[in-house]
């Protein structure tokens, strides 16, 4: 994991002007009193205009930290970006001066957080909070900002938007609150929308509504979207590509259909097997044994080997490279082809 070679990102060739957004070999550590946690260990992915990339992984796999690194809102300290690049339209965001970096936030790349109740400021009305972005980033007048805020709230389908401008976040239902969050993220017409577990805090029925809304908005506003989730069910209908993260690394990166049809990494395979299915009723639900690794003591070799049914001695000794399979997808597994072909397990 220490090699500094930039790995090729799979599934689509680099367009002539470069990708819209590209994370290259990112390494992030958290330095705490107890030690150094290696949270991101060489993550690379990219996003092209109009595309939806799903980043999938358990809690602590580093998917949100990568997103916050892209936004430039990591708390430093404790977080330290050790190395890597985050290129947006050819510019490395990590080397930009803070003032230019700030200009990118919200206007080029915007983010929606998981828990809208804590992510919105509790003491200000939602209309004020959406309008604040317009007034202070776009220099809009109060009246214009108000008009645009109502438009945005209509856009995210909040009923009676004009009458709810003065309401505070706690006066909204969970789903409506997340819509407010989305409206706020859309205020400056960003080109990239990062949705960091946008439905985790919501009821199942509301989850579907929010996912539909996000998919529609992405299409209508011609944005690219990074959808961060730990829910495989959420991904299938929305994403074009999936990057599966484990212990701060992308272990498999593939086209959605290819990945669902035949996963090429044992971890992905385990995740897919643990989805409850209607056609295999009566059998005990399959689980991945063991726990995600402690990021202060990541196992040697392949970090997944203690939990992996395919693990052999080489997995303990050698960190696997990203193997590129025939269809252009990558898998960080010594036995990627075997796993891929092994449909029965």
């Amino acid at each position: 994991m220490t090699e500094s070679v930039v790995r090729p990102t799979p599934a689509s060739p680099t367009p002539p002007g470069g990708h819209l957004l590209e994370v290259r070999d990112l390494h992030v550590e958290f330095r705490t009193g107890e030690g150094v946690a290696k949270v991101i260990n060489g993550v690379s992915y990219h996003l092209d205009p109009g595309e939806t990339l799903a980043v999938l992984g358990e809690s602590g796999s580093g998917k949100s930290v990568t997103a916050q690194a892209i936004m430039g809102i990591l708390d430093t300290p404790p977080a330290v970006i050790r190395s890597g690049q985050i290129r947006y339209r050819g510019r490395d965001l990590l080397t930009l001066p803070e003032e230019q970096r700030r200009q990118v936030r919200g206007k080029e790349i915007a983010i929606i957080f998981q828990d809208a109740l804590s992510a919105l400021n509790p003491v200000f009305p939602v209309g004020w909070q959406i309008g604040e972005t317009l007034r202070h980033r776009d220099g809009m007048s109060r009246a214009d900002a108000r008009r645009r805020t109502v438009e945005l709230m209509d856009l995210v389908r909040i009923p009676g938007a004009a009458g709810r401008l003065g309401d505070h976040p706690h006066q909204f239902s969970g789903g409506m609150r997340q819509r407010v969050m989305i409206a706020m993220a859309l205020a400056l017409n960003p080109k990239v929308l990062i949705a960091d577990e946008p439905t985790t805090a919501l009821d199942v029925t509301v989850q579907a509504q929010i996912m539909d809304l996000l998919a529609d908005l992405r299409r209508d506003l011609d944005m690219a979207m990074i959808l961060i989730t730990h829910d495989l069910g959420v991904v299938a209908g929305v994403a074009d590509r999936i990057a599966v993260m484990y212990a701060g690394r992308i272990v498999e990166h593939a086209d959605v259909r290819a990945l669902y049809r035949a996963p090429a990494h044992p971890y992905t395979k385990g995740l897919l097997a643990s989805i409850p299915r209607l056609d295999v009723r009566g059998r005990e639900l399959s689980t991945i044994r063991g726990l995600p690794p402690n990021l202060m003591r990541i196992p040697t070799g392949c970090p997944f080997h203690p939990r992996c049914p395919y693990a052999r001695q080489v997995c303990v000794d050698v960190v696997p490279d990203d193997l590129v399979l025939a269809d252009g997808r990558t898998s960080a597994c010594h036995f990627a082809q075997e796993v891929h072909d092994d449909r029965a397990r």
């Binding site: 916050q68 936004m71 809102i73 708390d75 700030r102 200009q103 990118v104 936030r105 919200g106 206007k107 915007a110 983010i111 957080f113 828990d115 804590s118 992510a119 919105l120 400021n121 509790p122 003491v123 200000f124 604040e132 972005t133 202070h136 980033r137 505070h168 706690h170 969050m181 706020m184 993220a185 205020a187 400056l188």
Partner: protein
């Protein structure tokens, strides 16, 4: 909100009667011979004794007599008549002269608290674990550790006598300058508490999720801290200051005593020392009202500041 205020006002009536009863009982139940206490060291003739016994309804004895006198006192009190002190002065007049002095002192103390305590608290909260933060931590610990009974004479000696920057005592009808040093001494305790409270609150709010959201909106740091963080952090601070203002308004016995300031606390202390029952009960009754009102204002203010709080 209206129902809440109404209910609180009704509770205040109960609390008011309860406290006056207790103070009245404590002040008079302990007295052996109130008439002799009134006369001090001078002898009392039988005629005088008979007159005073009649005047103060002391011919009624036991619990019945006590309540008779208590309700007699309350009747006068509700008509705005606080009665006379044992020295024969109208207690209303005493309070009218003392209160403005105490209010001036309280305002100085509060200004010092807000100006230095809250400002330093905000800075310490933003720069947590910095040299400034640690320095304020040690200083506030020192201030909180020294009782006023030590701090007040120390300040008086050092800044009033040794290096006479301030008048060491205030005396009758003091001006603002004479009240400055006592005001700072009085305010130092609330200053230290306000500083600590502000620091913790700011530091906590800086880590809140909504700050991350504000950053992701691309707002400048000055606005994130000045608007988003401060508006949230100051809620507990303002409620603390409200309660504290109520405390300060009711006089500072030690500070007013040390600096010889003729305020409410000074008079209350004199009343206690000379066993002047009517004076003590009169002042305490008014203090209770001030205190209850201050607390109600703070509770209402809290709901205004934090929209999540709703009183039903």
């Amino acid at each position: 909100m209206f129902r809440f205020v109404l209910r609180r006002l009704l509770q205040m009536v109960l609390a008011f009667f309860g406290t006056t009863l207790i103070v009245y009982a404590l002040m008079f139940a302990g007295q052996g011979d109130p008439i002799q206490a009134l006369a001090g060291e001078r002898p009392v003739t039988p005629a005088q004794r008979a007159y005073l016994t009649e005047k103060f309804h002391l011919d009624r004895t036991g619990v019945g007599g006590f309540f008779y006198r208590y309700f007699d006192y309350l009747r006068n009190l509700l008509q705005g008549d606080l009665g006379q002190s044992l020295t024969g002065r109208s207690i209303g007049d005493i309070l009218a002269a003392a209160w403005p002095v105490t209010v001036k002192l309280a305002v100085i103390a509060m200004a010092v608290t807000i100006l230095f305590g809250v400002t330093a608290g905000v800075l310490a909260g933003i720069r947590r674990a910095s040299l400034f933060d640690n320095a304020t931590l040690v200083l506030t610990l020192l201030v909180l550790g020294i009782p006023t009974i030590v701090l007040a004479p120390l300040a008086q000696y050092l800044l009033g006598v040794r290096w006479p920057l301030f008048p060491p005592t205030a005396g009758a009808d003091p001006d603002l300058y004479a009240l400055l040093l006592p005001g700072i001494v009085l305010g130092s305790l609330s200053l230290a508490t306000a500083l600590r409270l502000t620091r913790t609150s700011v530091a906590e709010n800086l880590r809140a999720d909504y700050v991350r959201t504000a950053r992701s909106k691309g707002l400048v740091r000055r606005r994130i801290i000045g608007v988003h963080v401060l508006r949230n952090s100051l809620i507990p601070v303002i409620t603390f200051l409200g309660v504290e203002l109520g405390n300060l308004m009711s006089g500072a016995i030690i500070t007013e005593g040390v600096f010889n300031i003729p305020g409410v606390g000074f008079n209350l202390f004199r009343g206690i020392r000379t066993e002047d029952g009517p004076l003590v009960v009169g002042i305490v009754s008014v203090l209770v009202v001030v205190y209850l009102v201050a607390n109600l204002v703070v509770d209402v203010l809290y709901a205004v500041l934090d929209p999540r709080i709703r009183y039903e």
